[in-house]
Symmetry: C2
Subunit: 208 residues, 2 copies
Amino acid sequence: MAQTPSTSGTGAGAGATTGTRDRIVIAAARLLQRQGYVGTGIKQIAKDAEATLGSVYHFFPGGKEAVAVAAITHSGEEFAGMLGEALATSDDPGAAIEACAAELAVGLRESGWIEGCPVTAAALETLGTDSEIQRVCAAALGSWERLVEEKLLGSGFGATDARDVATTVISALEGAEVTAQVNRSEEPLRAAGRQLARLVGSYRIEAV
Amino acid sequence: MAQTPSTSGTGAGAGATTGTRDRIVIAAARLLQRQGYVGTGIKQIAKDAEATLGSVYHFFPGGKEAVAVAAITHSGEEFAGMLGEALATSDDPGAAIEACAAELAVGLRESGWIEGCPVTAAALETLGTDSEIQRVCAAALGSWERLVEEKLLGSGFGATDARDVATTVISALEGAEVTAQVNRSEEPLRAAGRQLARLVGSYRIEAV
DNA sequence: AGCGGTCTAGAACGAGCGCTCTATTTAGGG
DNA sequence: CCCTAAATAGAGCGCTCGTTCTAGACCGCT
């Protein structure tokens, strides 16, 4: 309370209405990641973002769903950036994927096992509805798969194999993340990383 | 209405108070699978089970959480049975796992892509809490992993490899199921099945 | 100085939540 | 035949939800 420094000038940069809107998106992304869509209230988002309900509905006339769509899109792009960096750390795609799994494991442990995949939770809750949320979730998953696919293509994979393996890699990482959260252990992610590296490596022999 | 045949005699078997309680568990399991924990109301469970609120609280004094624990346990055992059967269809563990993925894919499509893993959704929503729900979710996942692990051990896998691969198989199937739901496509599960079969097969060369 | 748009602020509404409470109905042993 | 416990039935509690609505604060204009 008593804080609310009023936009604090906006002073700095180019942007016009930035600041509050971004805080809302970031807070929503964090809460969705931890509590899912149904479990997260708009008032809680406003509170965490140090904004008011009026501001939330000003920037997102579409209400809760619009906030969630923006938040998931944001999270999806953020994770894509992290994934791209991790994939670039090694020429061997298998090693790069294993490194990525390890990074996920560390981040998960440091968050107390509660900050999992920002897409999975929200996607599962809105499957029965015709919500746009599932569309942005699908888009995020697809963009991640494409990053892995391109890495594999660059390592000499055939088009069909690259697509199959990329889909499997993203699925396995997703599932391993959930398993790691439930068991409060890094091991599922570590094991998935090792096995995915082995799977990717098994193509090298015949494909290159 | 007007139905409610009162316990319908119990007539048949050994059981005493069965009937209503079972209907509640089954209805709850189905709703949890489709809508998650937070998204499912106790009143809706009662309605779907053709029971009343009074009956629900009579059989489950622990309230919503107790109903969910019973429902998830039930679903976990049910899926374990299905998994055990699928694994028994072939001597080759890789082929058995691929068949299992195919079966999941068909079931998912037939449900309109909404009846996914009964554990994942509920687990993700209750991670931040100290609920007992996460414990039964972890138990269910663990029992599934153990089924796969034993199948692999029976095929000549070493103890460490069997454990690693079993964890990865369950994680990948879980993740592929979610991906398939989001994309409304069997392909993620089919791809995961193929790649998991390949992964399992890659051990055969050196291990047997 | 005064105006119009952008943004902030929070009170208020109807709906639905999990749960508690009091009756009523059913089945079976003295 | 009645009396008790199990089971069924649903009205009502306090609460929080997403959303709407009206005001006020701040800005660059003319």
